[in-house]
């Protein structure tokens, strides 16, 4: 019998891929018309056929499942992007980001200012390190950072996990083991999904509304169709999963985990500019800022064009829905670094908070190991995958690994089933 995979994001595609490769029948039901979930590539909005990565951008060092997949599928990466400079001793810490470019109050801080701020933060990190879950704001106030150092330090939360500084725990930025070296997919982040989807049976525009358990297997209901399956892999985001009915109702421990896993609220801004050489000369690898575009970085395109990608945290100011205003904010941050208004030739804003089948950027991983494990645990023949369910929460790598893990759970059940002697004896 079939396995139904809910969601054609990376977790769903890698689960389906692994099952398909093992000879299983698999159907992937995708609610939207898009492949790739939160690695969506937007086409037709940028010049020169460039793809706008509306969601995830980066492959990091250590994300070996993705890297191996890229090698096998011949997916090319961009030149390395270095968002966090090392400190003078070669380490990466919660102070490293302050050594990179910063735009504060519409002004680019000069090198000496940033290094002073970074030194202040570095000293405080060494003398009185943050506790793991202590928020960026709480730590910076506890150790008495100067207001400017505090603001600069707290800006980091806007990149990962892209949440307001009151909601970001210190472990996200210190000791800063992640993001030392990162790359982007040369042909868009969704090239991973496109490669993974080859040969799979995908049904788009099919939001799963509820799942009925049958005497054997499950019936999966979409708006105007239904599917039978022995196993189901639920790979939708935590919020989207909270919108699917299950009969019988999911056990208390599962809904509890779903209801205590907030997703960061925000979106992505992507703008294309002329004069790439000039912009990169002056603005390097981008900057972190105290504006609604909390951090932006660059990807080069053909004919001296440059794509700037930025992250926007929902601060309640409406900027995620006021696209023209948001793009002007990004222009101004770049101007602060280059000294003159950049020549924007295209741009868009993608708001993940209002996407019915997503509901946010990434899960906030506020419950640590235990919550991830509970989110991942199967309920009968219902298996669960997605970035929220595994280590490295909020990354493409987490999604991919979780999909393979869910597929393995099902394949192990199959093997047990086959090895059971006929007649049901134990």
């Amino acid at each position: 019998m079939t396995t139904i995979v809910i969601g054609a994001g990376l977790a769903g595609l890698f689960a389906a891929r692994a099952l398909h490769d093992a000879g299983e029948e698999v159907i992937v039901l995708e609610a939207t018309d898009h492949l790739g979930g939160r690695t969506r590539g937007v086409r037709g909005r940028l010049h020169h056929d460039q793809i706008a990565d509306a969601g995830a951008s980066f492959v990091d060092i250590g994300q070996d499942t993705l890297l191996e997949f890229c090698v096998r599928q011949d997916l090319r990466l961009t030149p390395q992007v270095r968002l966090l400079p090392r400190d003078p001793r070669g380490f990466s810490t919660g102070a490293s980001a302050l050594r990179g470019r910063i735009v504060s109050g519409g002004r680019a801080l000069v090198d000496a200012e940033r290094w002073d701020l970074a030194d202040e933060v570095q000293m405080a990190l060494e003398q009185d390190p943050p506790e793991r879950v202590e928020t960026l704001l709480a730590w910076s106030r506890r150790v008495g950072l100067s207001p400017r150092a505090r603001d600069a330090y707290a800006m980091q939360g806007s990149l990962a996990p892209q949440a307001r500084r009151e909601l970001v725990s210190s472990w996200h930025v210190h000791p800063g083991d992640a993001a030392q070296a990162r790359w982007m997919l040369a042909d868009g982040a969704d090239s991973i999904a496109r490669a993974a989807a080859g040969g799979l049976n995908l049904v788009f525009g099919s939001p799963v509304r509820w799942v009925d358990k049958e005497p054997v297997g499950y019936t999966i209901h979409t708006d105007d169709d239904s599917f039978s399956a022995q196993y189901v892999v639920v790979t939708s985001s935590v919020q989207a999963t909270r919108r699917i009915g299950f009969d019988p109702v999911l056990p208390e421990w599962k809904t509890e985990a779903l209801l205590t896993t907030p997703m960061s609220q925000g979106g992505k801004i992507i703008a294309q500019y002329a004069d790439a050489d000039r912009l990169v000369d002056a603005a390097g690898q981008g900057a972190m800022t105290d504006s609604p575009v909390g951090r932006f970085w660059f990807k080069r395109g053909p004919e001296d064009t440059l794509i700037a990608m930025g992250v926007m945290t929902d601060g309640g100011d409406g900027m995620l829905t006021q696209h023209a205003a948001a793009l002007q904010v990004l222009d101004r941050q770049i101007e602060a670094l280059t000294g003159s208004p950049p020549d924007r030739i295209a741009g868009l804003v993608h708001d993940w908070t209002t996407e019915e089948f997503v509901g946010g950027v990434v899960s906030l991983d506020t419950g640590g190991f235990e919550r991830r494990a509970v989110l991942a645990a199967p309920v009968g023949g219902l298996h669960f995958a997605g970035e929220a369910t595994g280590e490295r929460t909020g990354t493409m790598e987490a999604a991919v690994r979780s999909g393979r893990r869910a597929a393995d759970e099902i394949l192990q059940k199959r093997r047990r089933g086959r090895s059971r002697p006929r007649g049901g004896g134990r």
Partner: protein
């Protein structure tokens, strides 16, 4: 000489309802109390807007509704002489109802796909909802939207069930469980007659409340040293932190706040949104249509008249804009247009707006939510963890009150509980005290 616990003040952080109740209770017993408030006003999410509204009317931007079970709140109001309005019926339950929703559907008005649903259809809908609850009994921990899907509700029934859930929680129906929709109906609501703010103002009347004192650091253990953003330092025997949860997680506690508390706060799902309010000239018609709560399947999930017993004059209507629709709050013109449309649909003809305003709690970093509504299963644990005393630090606020998250009553009860904790703290004995009073000579 015995030192008494009165030697040093108790410092209360936050002049919302919880903090004010704590401070008021302690001061009543003769203890010195200082309340530090970060903003320039008293009340926190107890907030009544009075400026700009004609005829002395007002709009409650925060807590407003008083349910029959709010005994502690009513007792405090009685003691302080704060007047509570007569009841306003919001539900017409019947004896064999299986959920809170049925009674609210019978008494409320519902806008489904832009049209006001007529009363006979609502009576029929209540019966169908009852049948659905009977056929698919919701588990208490079940997420509302998951139950709506499992039970196969559609049409007016789905609008009605979702509408009541959204109104009661200020959240999307996938962000909370169904437990409070099952059980005895709440038949009527009351309000504080002069606006909810008047309770906060009355509580603060004789208190030492310092406005504009944003607390950034609290050094605690062996007393508390509380520092504000402009460097002022207050010493106290102890501190009561009566802010909302997201302000708590941003204070620089030294030693740091217990990890369990921070993790608990960061795991809450906030009700992201705010209120939209407007005053309409056609007062009698608006009161007739909106004294009962109007629920919708649209951006503004519910709206009602803020002062239903006003004898005449214009009417003030309040609505929630929250969850996935919260972005509209940043566009005041659009928010007003939505409320105008809602009121016109409920009244049956266009209405004349005299004044209007939005209040965006989500955008305010001091709050970042209207409220929180944890699942029934997690409430006792959350309340226990959050209210646990550590390093001379007491925590108050509606989110520390087991069954009453997100209510005025929860805030009041948590304030009373924190005050009681402090009143139970025994006198401390110095070595000299012990030698003098207890050792054999």
């Amino acid at each position: 000489m015995l030192r008494t616990i009165d030697d040093e003040a108790t410092i209360v952080v936050g002049a919302g309802l919880a903090g004010l109740v704590t401070a008021w209770r302690l001061q009543e017993t003769g203890m010195p109390v200082v309340v530090l408030e970060g903003s320039d006003r008293i009340g926190g999410r107890t907030m009544t807007s009075r400026d700009g509204w004609v005829d002395g009317q007002f709009a409650n931007y925060g807590g407003e509704l008083i349910f029959p079970a709010f005994h502690a709140l009513r007792a405090v109001c009685e003691e302080l002489g704060v007047e509570i309005s007569p009841p306003n019926v919001i539900a017409e339950p019947e004896p064999d109802d299986l959920s809170v929703v049925e009674g609210m559907v019978r008494a409320g008005n519902f806008i489904h796909q832009g049209t006001l649903v007529d009363r006979r259809e609502l009576i029929a809908s209540a019966a169908r909802i009852r049948a659905a609850v009977e056929a698919h009994p919701p588990a208490p921990h079940e997420i509302v939207e998951q139950w709506v899907r499992r039970a196969g509700l559609d049409g007016v029934d789905r609008t009605a069930f979702r509408g009541v859930a959204r109104m009661l929680t200020c959240q999307d129906t996938w962000d909370h469980d169904v437990h409070y929709l099952i059980g005895p109906a709440m038949t009527d609501i009351r309000r504080i007659s002069g606006g909810t703010q008047s309770l906060a103002d009355r509580l603060a009347m004789d208190l030492d409340v310092r406005l504009g004192h944003e607390v950034v650091r609290i050094r605690r253990g062996n007393g508390a040293e509380v520092e504000t953003s402009d460097g002022r330092i207050f010493h106290g025997a102890r501190v009561v932190v009566a802010t909302n949860p997201y302000a708590l997680s941003g204070i620089g506690f030294d030693p740091p706040l217990e990890e369990a508390k921070t993790s608990t706060v960061l795991s809450l799902l906030p009700a992201m949104g705010g209120k939209v309010a407007a005053q309409y000239a056609e007062g009698d018609a608006v009161r007739e249509a909106l004294n009962a709560i109007v629920y919708t399947d649209d951006e503004i999930c519910a709206a009602w008249t803020c002062w239903p017993d006003a004898p005449s004059g214009p009417a003030v209507v309040i609505g929630f804009l929250a969850g996935v629709h919260r972005h509209v709050l940043a566009d005041e013109g659009e928010a007003m247009r939505l409320l105008d449309d809602l009121v016109a649909t409920a009244v049956g003809h266009p209405v004349t707006r005299l004044h209007g305003d939005v209040h965006n709690w989500w955008a305010d970093p001091r709050f970042m939510s209207i409220t929180v509504n944890p699942s029934e299963h997690s409430r006792p644990r959350i309340a226990a963890v959050m209210s646990g005393i550590e390093h001379d630090t007491h925590i108050a606020g509606d989110y520390t009150s087991e069954q009453l998250f997100g209510t005025l009553e929860g805030a009041v009860r948590s304030g009373i509980r924190a005050a009681d904790e402090i009143l139970r703290v025994p006198t401390s004995f110095s070595a000299d005290d012990i030698e003098e009073r207890l050792t054999t000579r």
